[in-house]
Amino acid sequence: MKTTTSKPEKAAMGKTGSWRVFRPTLDEEKCIKCWRCWIFCPEGAIERNDLPCIDYDFCKGCGVCATECPVDAITMKREEK
């Protein structure tokens, strides 16, 4: 039988951050470190350091983090061409 399966591998499709139209930007002064952005990010593109750290190589700019943030510390800004 021939079929296709895939093994987990980082970035098999390349750096998907290039798909992004809007860039989540963190206001470090406002952040209360509740980690809701880290929990809800569907791409696992937020790392939990001292503050949330967004991996722009893989963030597709969906904006879930900005919507979930309870203190509006993340804003979505259009990427410059």
């Binding site: 039988m1 021939k2 079929t3 296709t4 399966t5 093994k7 499709m13």
Partner: protein, 375 residues
């Protein structure tokens, strides 16, 4: 042990004896009895299986796919609109090479609302990659269901199997059936070894993106698996002989010296048996080729008959704007003299006398919709 029961009860019993790990099903007339019986088997402790109640047939098939992907043997049953709702997932199961076994009790499509026998539900799933069997007796329902697991799970096949039989004509009719001991079924069915499986210790996904450079090869392997299944169906049928009845791709009756052979599927094929006997008693050289396996299409077996006899094809289905599906495929696949008829749609009764009349009409060079265009 000989028991007398309806095809639905027999199907539930056969499914139970095949020991599926997971059953996901949704009730729909005329199949509901199967799900009810299986639920009862689980409830009273006769069947150790994960019984998943779902909110639709689409979900039932999705659950079977998920369970199959984890290496479980699965079963579900449906009919008519339920089968149509599964359509996307039917393709999915076949492309993922997960050998789900499913009963489809043939029932007409609405509107108007019809619960009676008609093969347009399963014929509409012709191109999904599923193997398709059509049964003509309750004994054959039992035998075919057990065989379906061994055929579908065969490493050279690895495709899902649909076992069809006529709504009410078989589903709610009691007939005598020889049921083997559980041990005989256990010995006949090896443990399921999946072609690939989801394993937390060795993570893998299926259904990821597949580019134009591989897609055709995947489809081609499925097509080859269908072709290979012809021999495997015959082998498995022979291996089952002695435990139950033995069957091939096409069940022939009095064909050898026949001038014209009736070709039909399911209960129509059983009724045609009697018609052939009556025609023979009247001095007509009639024969019967009951197509038991529709996918893979038994081209070679039918051609062997077409080489020496004309064929009266009776379809209980219609591809609107074209013709009956079985007749169309035979015309495409065979070098044969074919007289196509449509009959029995929406459960309209087709007795052996009707089939004798159809045979007479074919002798007169007529064809078409029996009782609508030709009487």
């Amino acid at each position: 042990m000989k028991i007398i029961d309806t095809a639905n009860d027999i199907a539930a019993l056969a499914a139970k004896m095949a020991r599926p790990d997971v059953i996901a099903a949704y009730p729909i007339t005329p199949q509901t009895v199967i799900v009810e019986r299986l639920a009862k088997y689980v409830e009273n402790g006769e069947l150790d299986t994960q019984f998943i109640r779902v909110e639709s047939e689409h979900s039932a098939m999705a659950a079977c796919i998920g369970a199959g992907a984890s290496g479980s043997r699965t079963f579900t049953a449906t009919a008519s609109h339920g089968l149509l709702l599964m359509h996307e997932m039917l393709h999915w199961a076949a492309l993922a090479r997960i050998p789900v076994v499913m009963v489809n009790v043939n029932r007409a499509i609405g509107p108007g609302w019809s619960i009676w026998s008609d093969c347009n539900d399963s014929m509409s799933q012709r191109d999904t990659g599923w193997l398709q069997f059509y049964c003509s007796s309750n004994q054959e329902v039992f035998d075919t269901l057990v065989q379906a697991y061994r055929i579908g799970e065969h490493s050279d096949v690895m495709l899902p199997v649909m076992v069809n039989y006529d709504g009410f004509i078989l589903s709610h009719t009691s007939m005598a059936v020889d049921v083997p001991e559980q041990q005989a079924v256990d010995d006949f069915l090896p443990a399921f070894k999946p072609g690939w499986k989801l394993d937390v210790d060795d993570p893998v996904t299926h259904g990821n993106i597949i580019g134009p450079d591989y897609y055709m090869e995947v489809r081609y392997d499925m097509h080859q698996a269908q072709q290979r299944a012809k021999d495997i169906i015959t082998e498995v049928g022979s291996a089952w002989g002695g435990i139950g009845d033995s069957y091939g791709l096409v069940d022939t009756y009095r064909c050898d010296d026949a001038d014209m052979v009736i070709v039909a599927m399911g209960a129509l094929g059983a009724e045609a048996h009697r018609a052939v006997d009556e025609l023979r008693d009247n001095g007509t050289a009639a024969g019967l080729a009951r197509v038991r396996v529709f996918r893979p299409f038994p081209r070679e077996a039918l051609q062997a008959i077409a080489d020496h006899a004309e064929m009266v094809v009776i379809d209980r289905d219609i591809s609107l704007g074209m013709a009956g599906v079985l007749a169309t495929e035979m015309q495409a696949a065979l070098d044969a003299e074919i007289h196509p008829f449509i009959a029995g749609l929406g459960g309209r009764d087709v007795t052996y006398e009707d089939i004798m009349r159809i045979y007479e009409l074919a002798e007169q060079g007529k064809e078409g919709w029996y009782t609508v265009e030709v009487q």
